[in-house]
């Protein structure tokens, strides 16, 4: 019964989305105040309805109601509670409901927190959100109904893929979706601006917090996915340039460019039509990501064609959303007023360079991701575009970006003085040279790529610190006063430095892990000891253990350094009987400086166990760097000047006049 209520709520949400997507648009065009006022109410109602549907689905999973097809197919009564919870979105139908729910959440947030937006503008934003919701609710209800019943109801479910029974993966999709779907607000703001034919500084101020929130969630979502891959896949890799990963990385790159170009619109009232285009492209890439993952086109282009209902539906949605917005862009953007001029050597110039590089990098990733699919779809040879391709195309494009970053973030608006900026970056340059020398002398990395990575990471990290120090005046005034000045800096200044520091830390972590890994693959008997990067590792024992819904073979490794015990680490190979599937759990011991990463494999005929032992330096820095970037987004969101409800005189007065 509850499931039927949920189904009903979802159908009602579809109707509300239709009204939300049409009436306010008409009302705003015809100046019909009641229809304009309808938009926020409709957005809140839609949120309530989708929330009800989501709760109904959650209830079915928690109560193990196997008469529901998706519960039967993805759950089991013995499954731990956390995974009954995350099982709601651990499948196609449920994840769509989550997608729509987050979309409605953002719509409701705009309705609630966008009090200072001019009424007609807000109505148009919410109407565009309503149209997106309409498309995805229709997709959910007509091709992937989450509330489909089974009659008769089976006694127990088929279970959730054990690889998905993991805390990291339980929260990866919601974070990722918050990011993907969050960019819909930037898209809706861009569409509303195109309809009104006007983009100005206040537009950029409104759109920035939403973009920032989405970007932050996407950053953390990608990091969470990468972390999950690192500790489950069993060989210490963290990024594979896999199409699914690229699908989330492309909107991130475009969204990063959007964040930077929106600053130019806000501060200098220029780059407007480019920023609008970026907002459209960012969400389009998020939709493309949804399409790639949800249509099955990645498993096989042909699988997509054999079961076309879903794939064609998402493809149509993608075509309408992207094609429609680009058509509107082609029609309305030429009317947007161009902004003021600036010299190439200036903050605007630096941000433009950032945008060009990020856009080009996004394009190469897009090409590398779609090319094999296109070739396959057209009957060409099967190829695999993997890490070598992306390392050879994406990384070189990042080099100028990282080299220019510290100087670009310090240079003055309008007309900058590059030599002055460079002279103030002397400390960071000296520090970078020191790190480079240390890396060349101490670390095992002799590869040029590794050294370049260390230099780039150090340059970005130290350059950001240097920038903060210069801003606070540490080189001009007494330290105590500079310290006070530092504390008085606006949060947005801190957040920029923090985000760039996070990027530097991330690059150092990635470089160290990718080039400094020590690996030993061997067969060990219980009691045997080997050395790994200065540690003595003993396979202490291998025994059978019983988990809540699995049985496992558990290997215990004792680690010593110079005779002193460091830790013990357990790696398990679990077998899930319900799904009849094995899953390997590596054993990991992490510190700030290194991870010890052990994997127990299969026994050989002589009673020894295949094991893989890794020493991965600075792994934590990767997660720490991503965390810093996310934190930077949060700090920026709490900046009073950027708060969504901050007074916006220019726009407000215009709305009042209208």
């Amino acid at each position: 019964m509850i499931a039927e209520l949920g189904h009903f709520a979802l159908v009602l949400a579809l109707v509300v989305a239709f009204l939300q997507g049409t009436l306010p648009l008409w009302g705003a065009a015809r100046r019909q105040a009641p229809l304009v006022e309808l938009a926020p109410a409709a957005a809140l109602l839609q949120f309530t309805l989708v929330t009800l549907a989501f709760l109904a689905l959650l209830n079915a999973h928690l109560a193990s109601d196997f008469s529901l097809a998706i519960v039967y197919q993805n759950s089991h009564s013995t499954k731990p509670l956390l995974y009954k919870f995350s099982g709601v979105w651990g499948n196609h139908e449920g994840s769509l409901v989550l997608w729509v729910w987050i979309l409605a959440l953002f719509g409701a947030a705009v309705a609630l927190f966008g009090r200072n937006l001019p009424r007609p503008f807000k109505a148009r934003v919410l109407a565009v959100q309503g149209l997106i919701g309409l498309g995805f609710l229709a997709f959910s209800l007509f091709t992937s109904n989450p509330f489909a019943r089974l009659d008769p109801a089976p006694l127990d479910g088929l279970g959730l893929n054990p690889i998905l029974q993991d805390p990291g993966l339980a929260f990866h999709p919601p974070m990722l979706y918050l990011g993907y779907v969050g960019f819909s607000t930037a898209y809706s703001f861009a569409m509303a601006a195109l309809i009104e034919g006007r983009v100005d500084a206040s537009w950029a101020r409104w759109v920035r917090p939403w973009t920032l929130a989405a970007w932050m969630a996407l950053t953390l979502g990608i990091a969470l996915g990468s972390w999950w891959a690192y500790y489950t896949l069993g060989w210490g890799g963290f990024w594979f340039w896999d199409p699914v990963e690229n699908a989330s990385f492309m909107p991130w790159l475009a969204g990063t460019a959007l964040l930077h170009s929106a600053i130019v619109v806000e501060k200098r009232d220029t780059l407007k039509s480019w920023t609008i285009l970026l907002a459209i492209l960012t969400f389009s890439l998020a939709l493309l990501g949804t399409f790639l993952v949800r249509s099955g086109v990645l498993t096989s282009v042909h699988a997509f064609a054999t079961d076309p209902s879903r794939g064609v539906f998402v493809l149509a949605l993608l075509g309408i959303a992207v094609g429609g917005s680009l058509a509107l862009y082609a029609w309305r953007a030429p009317a947007l007023q161009g902004g003021g001029a600036f010299a190439p050597i200036s903050r605007e110039g630096a941000l433009l360079l950032n945008n060009l590089l990020l856009a080009t990098a996004t394009a190469t990733v897009l090409l590398g991701t779609l090319y094999p699919l296109l070739l396959d779809g057209l009957g060409g040879p099967k190829i695999s575009v993997g890490p070598p391709f992306f390392n050879a195309t994406f990384l070189p494009l990042m080099v100028p970006l990282l080299v220019a970053l510290p100087a670009g973030s310090m240079i003055a608006w309008k007309r900058g003085d590059l030599s002055g900026v460079l002279s103030r970056l002397g400390l960071a340059a000296a520090g970078t040279v020191a790190v480079l020398l240390a890396a060349a002398l101490l670390a095992d990395t002799r590869s040029t790529l590794g050294l370049m990575g260390f230099a780039a990471g150090a340059w970005v990290l130290l350059g950001s610190l240097n920038e903060l120090a210069v801003r606070a005046g540490f080189f001009q005034v007494p330290p105590a006063r500079a310290w006070r000045r530092l504390k008085g800096l606006p949060r947005s200044a801190f957040s920029m430095s923090l985000a760039h520091m996070g990027l530097g830390v991330l690059i150092l972590g990635i470089t160290a892990t990718a080039t400094g890994q020590t690996e030993r693959i061997l067969a060990m008997r219980p009691g045997e000891t080997v050395t790994l990067a200065g540690y003595e590792v003993t396979l202490a024992s291998v025994e059978q253990v019983q988990g809540p819904n699995y049985v496992a073979r558990s290997g215990t490794f004792a680690v010593q350094r110079d005779g002193a015990p460091v830790t013990t680490v357990r790696s398990e190979k679990r077998f899930f009987p319900v799904e009849s599937m094995p899953v390997t759990k590596p054993g990991i011991h992490s510190t700030l400086l290194r991870d010890l990463y052990f994997v127990l494999g299969d026994p050989n005929s002589e009673g020894a166990w295949a094991v893989r032992l890794y020493h991965n330096p600075l792994v934590f820095w990767m997660w720490g760097g991503a965390g810093l970037m996310g934190l930077a987004g949060l700090v920026s969101l709490t900046d009073r000047r950027l708060r969504v409800g901050a007074p916006v005189p220019a726009r407000g007065s215009r709305a009042a006049a209208a």
Partner: protein
Amino acid sequence: MSAPAADRAGRRRLLFALPLLAFVGVGAFLALGLGRDPSQLPSALVGREAPAFALPPLEGRDDHGLSRADLGGGRPMLVNFWASWCVPCRVEHPILDRLARDGVTIQGVNHKDMPDKARAFLDELGDPYELVGSDRQGRVSIDWGVYGVPETYLLDGQGRILYRHVGPLQERDLKKLLPMLEEAR
């Protein structure tokens, strides 16, 4: 508006239409590529009598094997080609078990498999088959035109093939299969 100004405005319009043109171009290319995919399987056997064959039983299973004579006989049934090493077979097996419990007759052809492994598979996941023929060389599969396992055929009471399903049976396939089975009765 003077001519060069109009010209410039036209160029400007074209510039802003570029993203749309690029998108439409790529979209058309993709649609052409995907549109001509010949994915639906033609089955030469649909509508015809099942081919003649006789297979020995699966060692250790209590039946006489499977032959053409066991098909038909007034009962509509499913013939399922499977193997223990086939992962998708594992996936569809619970559905076959449920169908068997609901009274659907299912005959199995064990394709290129070791008898002990096949038995272990049935012990572990349940045995939905009335009869199982062991096709260790895969000859019968070739006669039926089986591309790979699992594959399932729906036969009417005269042993005529009504429908062929390629790949693991899933919940949503039953919506199509069950009414056909009902109709064949």
